[in-house]
Structure formats: structure tokens, C-alpha cells
Amino acid sequence: MLEVVEVVKDFGGLRAVDHVSFRVNRGEIKALIGPNGAGKTTLLKVINGLLSPTSGEIRYAGKRISKMRPHSRCELGIGSVFQLSQLFRELSVLENAMIGMHCHTKSNIITSGLRLPVCTREEKASRDKCLDILSIVGLEERASVQAGILPIGQQRLLEIARALATDARLLLLDEPAAGLNSAEKEQLGKVILGIRERGADVLLVEHDMELVMDISDSLVVLDYGKVIAEGPPESVRTNKAVIAAYLGE
């Protein structure tokens, strides 16, 4: 579904991503790992459109998307969850999830303002769908709670819920386990596997090796912006170059 083709990203004199190529296939959970500063987050941002590549291509479902703006890529089905909390803290849990429905709904100022039936129907359908999604991540009980007061594990799950509400077929997760305790990490793992069950692919940047090994179908290892290994978890784990990169030469 996702093809990263010879992507290069330079920041002035610094080459953050160096001719990286790989694919994420249908129904695959791929983990992008590597030491800090290896270019993983930069690569995710190139994929979702917050950064544009210096050279190279991103293809999604066969389409070249390198020139598309972030919100258009989301409409295509690319959902993102970032490391630093990007919740709308003042809004409720349900409202946060419903924001994900925006790109696939069409009530406009006139139909909303005049409360036309087409709008109320759409609103109800959105609500129901989001409550459904919230129950997948286990947050349906807290639907009317203000998002800002949730503990971090639940905030992360809410962000995933919001991305799911956009009907994402590819989920980009940037260190979703950061700051979570082991119970929350287990819950997170289950949710990610559940996402795959529902037909979406996942590209996961993560440092927690236990989680990575547990749920990933394959790994891509980055070091100084270059791919140094790729393959199923077991083979990558024993790869000499990978070990050297993490432990230092």
C-alpha cells in the first residue's frame, strides 16, 4: 500500500534521510526502528506531508502523493499519531474523535446553521460511528470527559481513535508507547493488533523493543538516515549491523 522510494531529506547541510526505500504491504504491521536521531520521525513527516522530501517519491495505493497537502493525504487514508500530545484538550473525548470524521462528512455552514435534516442525520451517524471506535480503544465510558484531563495512556488511545475515525487505511504511529506503563503498553499492543484486524496497515516508530517484537510483522532499521537492515523481527534482531548501530562501534 505504501511505497517509500529513494526518499532523501536534507535540512541545509544535514542529511536526515538518506535514500530510504521500503514498502508497507496490505495488512502489515511494520516497525521503523533505530537509534535516536536516525531520521525516523522525519521520515514519518515526509510520508504524512508535514515535510516535503528533497528528492524521492512517496506512493500510496499506487498514487504519487509527494505533492499533496497533509489534509488531502488524510482524506486518502493516511492517519497520524504523534509523540507529543496533539489532542484538543478543551474538547471532550467524543468531540476529539468526531474531528476525525471531518474529511468524510459534508455538513457546511448553511446546513448546520439551519439544522437541516441532512445535517442532523449526518451528525448522528458520526456520533454513533465515533462511539463505536471509542469502544474499540476502550474509551466509550469517558466520551464526555474533557480530553485534557485523561491520563497519558488514554490520551494516546484517543489520538489513535481520532485517526481511526478518519477511516485511515494506513496508520503512522510515532512512539505511541512513550510514557506509558506496562499495562498501558499491553493495551496499546492489543489495540494496534485490532487495527490490523480491521484492515488497516500500520507503520510504527518505536523504541520499546518488547512491544515491537511482539506485534510487528517486519522491521526496517534506520541509522544516520540510511536503511541498514530490513526483514522479519527474528532476523533483524540478530543482525550484526543493527546490534553495532545500537551499541555503538
Binding site: 489534509h71 468531540e95 471531518h102 448546520s112 446553521g113 481520532r162 478518519t166
Partner: protein, 335 residues
């Protein structure tokens, strides 16, 4: 932040009772001074509720909205006086023109950060003011007039009382409309654009479009208000549409609470009635003369105003609607 729905039942009924009284009072009094004040309040409320959409809900602090009000007023004046158009057609047309102007100004401003957006909108306000003052077509300093009151066949809105009902019908209609927009898909998109633009973008929201529409919609409201003012005064001039009114608008919405349409109404009420309150205080005989002077002298009035604003900004940053009404012991809360 409280919304009307979160205020418990007994208190909401009180609010509705006050609203009913308010709507009935022009029938109970002949004092056109007060009815006139209420009309002015209604007009300010309309532009404030619109401004709240762009500043409170979408987080864009424009300081040029008086110009959109002016656009509505002048367009109505030109359409009615030079083309003989009926007010009922001229008013919505002027609002649309104002809305378009809002969209165009938005095109230049929405990508800017807070400070630069403020500067750009002030600049627009100044440009608008300069044009209408120096252009003979818009009557220069003297303005355009006289404008005849709107008439539906033989029903002419020639008394303040009748005009009051026109204005307040629009205020309530626009309040409901706003409430519906804010609680739905568009309102959520505005809140997202305000809260975290990047998160909104990766969640599929075209932030630029949302912001442009907010600008256009708020300018539309301002256009309605401007036209209403023009037909009320039977005259349109440059004076009310300068940057000082734009700043007053900001204060109205600040006092009421950013993001709350009802709050903007209360904020407008406060700003309209504060000078009246001062005037009242200056007439009370039991207050020592020197103190009364403070309330009656215009310069001192301004000072008091400034102090009052400062107090609000420091102690009530979320405005009136930000006060946790639920914590006031006035009856059992719903939650």
C-alpha cells in the same frame, strides 16, 4: 466553559424569563431613549456574535471588523439611495458584499500568525476608513443620507419600537444559527484549527478553508449589523467604523468569554450600558460631588472604563461565561 445547556434548569428558566421581559419592554414603555439604546445594543450584539466566531472559536484576533460593518452600511446606503433598492433586498445583499470582503481580507491574513494578522486587519480598517472619508461617492466626512426606513408594503418600520423587533428578531435568529454552526462539524473544525493547526491538518481538516469561511461568516454578520445601523440612523457616516470600534468589539467578546455566542451578547450589553451606568451614578444626589464628577466627566469616564477592562482581563480571563455558574449556590446542578 459554560454553555447555555450546562446551566441548570432553574437558572435557565430565569434566563428565559429575563429574555421574555426584555422582548416585552418596548411595549411597556414610551421612552424612546431606552428603546434606542436597546436597538444599538442589538446591533452591537450581532457584530459581536459574528466577531466571536472568528476570534473566539477560530482563534484569529482581527482588529478590523468595524470595516466590515462599514462595508455593509455603505453598501446598503448606496443601493438604497443611488439605486432605489428596497431595504429588504439591500440588507442581505450588503451582508453578502461584506462577507465577500471578509473572504478577500482573509485571503491575505489567515496564514499569518496572531500578531501579523492583527496588524493586517488594523491596516485594512484604516484603509477602508480613509477611502470612505475621501471618496465623494461615499459622501466623504459627511457620509450618505437620508436613508428611509425599511417598509413592507404599508408597514413602515418608522418607530423605534417596530425597529427594535426587527433588530432583536435578527439577534435571536443569528444566535440560534451560530449555536447550531458551533456545535456541529464546522464548529469542531474551527476549534481544531484554533487548538492545534498541525493536528487538525493531519486529521483531514483543510485549515485554510476553515479560517477563510470563518472570516467570511463573521464579516457577513458585521455587514448585517452595519446595514441595520444605517437604516436606523437614516444616515451612514465614517465615524462608527474606525479602529476604535474594532477594539471595543474585541473587548466585548473578551468580557463575554471567547467562544460563547451568548457571552458576546452579554459583553455587548456591558459595554453599551456601562456609560449609562456611569451617567446614572453621576446623578445620584447622595454621592459626594467630587465622586460624582468622576462619573460625569468624559475623561474620567474613559479612565474608569479602562480600569474596568483591566480588572476583567486580569480577574475574569474567560469572561462572564467562563465563570463556573454551577458552583454558584442557586439551585441543584444538572451534573
Amino acid at each position: 466553559m459554560s454553555t447555555l445547556a450546562s446551566i441548570a434548569r432553574p437558572r435557565r428558566l430565569i434566563l428565559y424569563a429575563i429574555l421574555a421581559l426584555w422582548l416585552a419592554f418596548p411595549l411597556l414603555t414610551d421612552k424612546t431613549y431606552y428603546i434606542g439604546l436597546a436597538i444599538t445594543l442589538g446591533i452591537f450584539a450581532i457584530v459581536a456574535i459574528g466577531y466571536n466566531l472568528v476570534a473566539g472559536n477560530t482563534g484569529m484576533f482581527s482588529f478590523g471588523h468595524a470595516a466590515f460593518m462599514g462595508m455593509g452600511a455603505y453598501t446598503s446606503a448606496v443601493l438604497s439611495m443611488k439605486l432605489g433598492m428596497s431595504a429588504w433586498i439591500a440588507l442581505p445583499l450588503s451582508a453578502i458584499v461584506a462577507g465577500l470582503a471578509g473572504y478577500l481580507v482573509g485571503l491575505t491574513s489567515v496564514r499569518l500568525g496572531h500578531l501579523h494578522l492583527a496588524m493586517a486587519t488594523v491596516a485594512f480598517n484604516i484603509i477602508f476608513h480613509n477611502i470612505v472619508v475621501n471618496w465623494t461617492f461615499t459622501g466623504g466626512e459627511a457620509g450618505l443620507g437620508p436613508l428611509s426606513r425599511p417598509a413592507l408594503g404599508s408597514l413602515v418600520l418608522n418607530t423605534d419600537r417596530k425597529y427594535f423587533y426587527l433588530v432583536w428578531f435578527l439577534v435571536l435568529a443569528l444566535l440560534l444559527f451560530t449555536r447550531n454552526v458551533v456545535s456541529g462539524r464546522i464548529g469542531r473544525a474551527m476549534a481544531a484549527a484554533k487548538g492545534d493547526e498541525i493536528a487538525a491538518q493531519v486529521s483531514g481538516i483543510n485549515v485554510i478553508t476553515v479560517k477563510l469561511n470563518a472570516f467570511a461568516l463573521s464579516a457577513f454578520y458585521a455587514g448585517i449589523a452595519g446595514s441595520l445601523l444605517g437604516y436606523y440612523l437614516a444616515y451612514v457616516g465614517p465615524k462608527p467604523f474606525g479602529t476604535d470600534f474594532s477594539i471595543l468589539l474585541f473587548l466585548m467578546v473578551l468580557v463575554g468569554g471567547f467562544g460563547s455566542a451568548w457571552g458576546s451578547l452579554f459583553g455587548a450589553a456591558l459595554m453599551t450600558f456601562l456609560p449609562e451606568f456611569f451617567r446614572f451614578l453621576s446623578s445620584l444626589a447622595f454621592i459626594p460631588y467630587n465622586v460624582r464628577l468622576v462619573f460625569s466627566d468624559y475623561t474620567y469616564n474613559l479612565l474608569l472604563f479602562g480600569v474596568a477592562m483591566y480588572v476583567v482581563v486580569v480577574y475574569l480571563p474567560k469572561g462572564i461565561m467562563g465563570i463556573s455558574w454551577r458552583n454558584l449556590r442557586l439551585g441543584k446542578s444538572k451534573r
